[in-house]
């Protein structure tokens, strides 16, 4: 492994631009760290998070990755919130081609890498593959980052998904020393090795490896929330009539935010949109959520008619049924559903109560 200065990291981002990547990464917008098309890494931003609460902060240091997760997910690029799949014009079907260019994701955290791999299982494994997801996924170059700090809403350690990156990133960075940061760089894929070589950098010594490890350990120690996984699936399936579902239903607004910010939720719906002037009909796919009425609508009505059963569907799918379906948990502990629930419902607290007998 080698080490970079902050300037070398910034030069690497520029190199990705020069190499014709669409560079997607942290962008400061509307009081949050969001993901989008970026020129250079923002410097010195952090965040303060709690249930139903997020504030962007200035850290007063030189960190490029001193923030934790914001409301955006990488899902929005691989599985966009809305897209037209085909259109019908003059009684003929016209496919809408999906031709993604090469993209670089900068700053993918451990739980996010895990979430991308969860969605890989959903969309790419089994009998049917989602072609558009696959085409986009193949074009992505992932620059992952080990977390050097955790938000109060994080709990990636529950599933051993972080804070150190374990997935199949192209390269992994660790940021050390916030005031004058340097980066431990691990180039994994061949593409990454070639690109990293263009920047150069001194080999990292033992002491530096040590410091990088200490930074990640510190993040792990900062994690305060827990979601013990042992026996969780059975415990939830045994608790389907627990009174706590009524309690959470009396607070939950069925707004769907928790599913929309979740990096693993994959539900979608389709609609036909008619352009009255051209008489073209567009067949669109949109993100859906088990908190909407139409998600479970069948002839005669919605199966998940009440908020109680919608919340139960969400929680038991994420943490229990997902395991049966995809052999992993649907939750990587990113904590977004906690921060971005407008009324601060925290799934770790709900689970703790649901696991106790009423």
């Amino acid at each position: 492994m080698i080490q970079w200065t902050a300037e070398q990291l910034d030069a690497f981002v520029q190199l990705l631009h020069d190499e014709a990547y669409e560079v997607l990464g942290p962008v400061i917008r509307d009081g949050a760290v969001t993901y989008g098309a970026m020129q250079a890494l923002p410097v010195g931003y952090g965040d303060e998070q709690a249930a139903g609460h997020y504030r962007l902060t200035q850290r007063g240091d030189q960190t490029r990755f001193g923030y934790n997760l914001g409301p955006s997910t990488w899902k929005q690029f691989l599985f966009p919130p809305s897209e037209t799949l085909f259109s019908v014009r003059d009684d003929l079907i016209h496919p809408v081609e999906n031709q993604p260019g090469k993209r670089a994701f900068i700053g993918v955290r451990a739980c996010e890498m895990a979430a991308i791999e969860v969605q890989d299982r959903v969309f790419l494994q089994g009998e049917y593959t989602e072609r558009r997801y696959e085409q986009r996924r193949q074009q992505v170059f992932i620059v992952a980052v080990n977390c050097s700090q955790a938000a109060a809403t994080c709990f990636c350690t529950a599933n051993d998904d972080g804070p150190a990156v374990r997935g199949s990133a192209d390269m992994v960075l660790t940021e050390v020393n916030p005031q004058q940061p340097w980066y431990l760089v691990e180039a994994i894929s061949e593409t990454a090795k070639k690109l990293v070589a263009k920047i150069g950098g001194a080999p990292a010594n033992d002491e530096q490896h040590h410091q990088a490890q200490a930074a990640v350990n510190e993040a792990a120690e900062q994690i305060s929330r827990q979601l013990p996984r042992k026996g969780l699936r059975d415990a939830l399936f045994d608790a389907l009539e627990h009174p706590q579902w009524d309690d959470v239903a009396s607070r939950c607004l069925s707004c769907g935010n928790c599913t929309q910010v979740c990096p693993t939720c994959f539900c979608s719906t389709t609609q036909e949109q008619t352009d009255l002037v051209s008489m073209e009909v567009r067949h669109q796919r949109l993100w859906d959520s088990c908190f909407t009425e139409m998600h479970s609508y069948t002839t005669g009505g919605a199966i998940h008619h009440k908020t109680r059963s919608r919340y139960r569907q969400w929680l038991t799918h994420k943490l229990a049924a997902w395991e049966d379906q995809f052999d992993v948990s649907g939750c990587t502990g990113c904590g977004r559903c906690i921060s971005w629930c407008p009324v601060g419902i925290d799934l770790t607290e709900e689970v703790e109560i649901l696991r106790k007998s009423p």
Binding site: Y54, P71, G256, L276, V277, L286, M294, P342
Partner: protein, 266 residues
Amino acid sequence: MNKPSLAVFKFASCDGCQLSLLDCEDELLKVAELVEIANFPEASRRILPGPYDIALVEGSITTEHDEERIQEIREGSRILISIGACATAGGIQALRNYADVDQMVRAVYPQPSYIDTLATSTPISRHVKVDYELHGCPINKYQLLEVLLAFTAGRRPQVSNDSVCMECKAAGNVCVMVAQGEHCLGPITHAGCGALCPSFDRGCFGCYGVKEQADVESLFVFLRDQRGMTTQQAVALVQSFNADAPELKVIASDRKWGRRREDRPE
């Protein structure tokens, strides 16, 4: 096959919703191909006699004459669609439902004796059977076109009944409630505007009306207990464009809101 006939009727309202139909411009000619515009005084002086296949009704019921006229319109229309916050939830003029209407009349009009009005402003569905309600203040013109298209084709309109939050997240907005501590009615509000207000950095004030399974009280309990909102602020927040929506009335009229449902007296 004869083209279905369309009529547009107005009650107490600002005209904004029916103007969305005129505002369609490019699409308006297609609308005229799909339906016979039989009675639409804002668009044409030509008024064909009823009965009509589709009636769009804008505005709320605020006079005795309105009460009679809506019955006639219902009898003379095969499908009745109420459009906008006034027609679906009483509109801004339903603020009178919480006040003394005579006092209001005296405060507003130089000659109060000219005013002949009911004490309440109520939605169309309170008076006659309504086949479909399209929400918004004003309604979204593309949704109106979709509804017309669907009813002429005899299919279900593709109008989302999700929350504004769903549109807000799809638009990639940063939630103003979480990231800025704004009060936002998005979680309990019917989608349709594309999360217009949060896209411009302010909270939703609920002009698209209350969504299905909306737990209005839960939101306000949270805003009071966690955000220090006062009852007065809560009432001001909900008493706007859909003041007569039953779900909002709980907050506006029951000053004991804020207790959990199980603690409420039956």
